[in-house]
């Protein structure tokens, strides 16, 4: 029996944490993710879960303490946003290369500046090469469902990597919407107990975590870590299948929405995909063959799979909620363009910058984007640079 209720995205993630009941949660508050540790702390105070909460003095310490707990053999998680993630930076790499299955609830918010608290993907995208698995959510429901699957992926023997589950700050983290929660018992069974094979507090086994490695060994370590990230693709799909058997919810590396016969496709990440679905339906009603490819998993990057799914399109718009300042477009744009080239996809393609610092995107805005794609395919429109959607002159 599922529980139909209404919750914000932050409440939904806190509820997932309650059902997982991790061993340790160190956290430091930062907008807009503050509510997550706040709700978890209340659950602990109320005796609903027996997680050890560690209030720390900074995000660097939060990630360090999470790492320490995980290395010791505990199931450990934390939550943060924006500059909080930036302050964790050094430790993010250490956590991943130490192969610690940490789970991080990331509520996406732009990095400063200008100083702003709203949704943007510059925090997680900045950490895209830190060695973490990254899974993004469109809604409160997906933030909850994705979070419930995170431990299974992170702790899998062929992966052993940290996972961040991302959702858009305020847009889903603070919006109250309908949600279906799953019963404790099947979820606890699905998530399972954490029984690591090797850990620091294991009796009769001495080990070191994060020691210095000379050049003779370092490169092999890095290759092994890269292989683990590759392995994660199949594990994410397998875990999603099991999750579907428990809940009926379908998840993949990405979602194809009316994409099968689409001539014009948009590729995007996060909450904007809900808005795009409404735009796709409205344009389909008018006879325009449009579709959406929603990226759920950004790390590992399913480039080949996405390129194949887009191969039949005439024009593709790749939306980035993160300016890379590379003079070469955003991260999704750059990586997907390369994947399209490798798959010999000949469609017109444009990278589009949108929603920076929480700039709103409407169904009408997406109609404009699909209009661009139609004109590009007809040879009537060409962008010399990647356009900014809704930019004021």
């Amino acid at each position: 029996m599922a529980i139909r209720t209404r919750m914000s995205g932050n409440e939904a993630v806190a509820y997932a944490i309650k059902q997982i009941n991790p061993d340790v949660m160190p956290a430091f508050p930062i907008t807009p993710s503050t509510e997550i540790p706040q709700f978890v702390a209340s659950m602990i105070a109320n005796g609903e879960i027996d997680t050890e909460f560690i209030p720390v003095e900074s995000e660097h310490s939060a990630m360090s303490a999470t790492m320490g707990a995980s290395a010791a053999g505990a199931r450990a998680m934390t939550a943060t946003s924006s500059c909080g993630l930036a302050l964790m930076w050094e430790v993010l790499y250490v956590a991943a290369s130490s192969r610690l299955p940490i789970v991080l609830a990331l509520v996406n918010r732009g990095l400063t500046g200008p100083l702003n608290i709203n949704a943007e993907h510059s925090d997680s995208m900045g950490a895209r090469d830190a060695g973490w698995i990254q899974i993004y959510s469109e809604s409160n429901q997906e933030a909850y469902d994705n979070f419930l699957q995170a431990n299974r992926i992170a702790e899998h023997a062929s992966v052993h990597l940290p996972v961040m589950i991302c959702q858009d700050g305020f847009i889903t983290s603070h919006a109250v919407q309908n949600i279906t929660l799953w019963e404790d018992e099947p979820i606890k069974k699905f998530v399972g107990e954490y029984n690591p094979e090797h850990y620091l507090l294991k009796e009769d086994e001495s080990m070191a975590v994060g020691p210095y490695a000379v050049s003779n060994y370092c490169m092999e370590e890095k290759k092994a870590q890269a292989e683990a990230m590759k392995n994660a693709k199949q594990v994410i799909l397998d875990v999603a299948k099991e999750f579907e058997a428990v809940t009926g919810q379908k998840y993949g590396l990405f979602e194809e929405y009316r994409l099968e016969d689409a001539e014009y496709a948009v590729v995007a990440i996060g909450s904007v995909c809900g808005t795009i679905k409404d735009a796709v339906d409205a344009l389909r009603d008018k006879g325009m063959k449009v579709g959406l490819l929603k990226v759920r998993v950004f790390r590992p990057f399913p480039g080949e799979e996405m390129a194949k799914a887009l191969k039949h399109c005439k024009a593709i718009g790749i939306m980035d909620r993160c300016e890379s300042y590379s003079a070469n477009g955003g991260p999704l744009g750059a990586e997907l363009m390369a994947a399209l080239f490798r798959e010999k996809v000949t469609a017109e393609a444009v990278n589009i910058m949108y929603g920076l610092s929480g700039r709103d995107v409407t169904v009408g805005d997406m109609g404009e984007v699909f209009g661009w794609l139609e004109k590009m395919a007809a040879g009537e429109l060409h962008f010399d640079e990647y356009p900014y959607l809704g930019l004021r002159d």
């Binding site: 608290i117 305020f170 603070h174 109250v176 919407q177 904007v272 809900g274 808005t275 409404d278 709103d360």
Partner: protein
């Protein structure tokens, strides 16, 4: 009743417009609706203009943008009428509810010729009479339910009683005051156009 009703709230930080928007989403959910209630966040501080939104629908709500063409607008503080374009995009077949102690003659010129329904509610009077303190959001919530017809009034009052009972389990006098405020507000809403 509309399949999708979109409501925009204008208030000032600290007046409870955000809380009212979330309460409306909550009570509409209890009545079996698909809901989305969310505030627009900026540099929050007491007294600064804030906006909050509600979508109430029979179908799944996927869109995640703000609301630019609302069916209804609620203005929790009438001083905003001078500085915020509260009727921007407001549908002519919808309506606006303004919390004010001013007369229709004073309010009408501030609404830029809006042709839809205009309602006034003295939430101050209602709040002082029933709660003894000024909490404009409770009367305004009832007013919005009345003008938007997103649910039946008796259904609204029943669901509110349930949730307030739970919230104020140890303060029955507050529960009673809030219920009185809701009922009185429903009677006090005055249509001036």
């Amino acid at each position: 009743m509309r399949h999708l009703t979109e409501i925009r709230w204008h208030g000032r930080g600290g007046q409870g417009a955000k809380t009212a928007a979330l309460l409306l989403a909550d009570v509409a959910f209890q009545a079996g609706k698909q809901v989305q209630g969310f505030p627009e966040y900026g540099p929050e501080r007491m007294g600064a203009p804030i906006t909050a939104y509600d979508r109430i629908s029979d179908k799944e709500i996927r869109v995640h943008s703000n609301i630019y063409e609302p069916d209804f607008v609620a203005v929790v503080d009438d001083t905003l009428l001078h500085t915020v374009d509260v009727t921007a995009g407001l549908k002519a077949d919808g309506g606006i509810l303004i919390n004010t102690q001013k007369s229709a003659e004073e309010i009408l010129p501030l609404l830029k010729g809006y042709t839809g329904k205009i309602y006034l509610l003295d939430a101050h009077k209602v709040s002082m009479a029933t709660l003894g303190k000024y909490f404009p959001n409770t009367p305004m919530l009832a007013g919005v339910v009345k003008i938007s017809e997103v649910m039946e009034i008796h259904e609204f009052l029943r669901e509110m009683e349930e949730s307030l009972k739970h919230k104020f389990a140890r303060k029955p006098e507050v529960l009673e005051g809030n219920l009185k405020a809701l009922r009185m507000a429903i009677d006090e809403v005055q249509c001036i156009q």
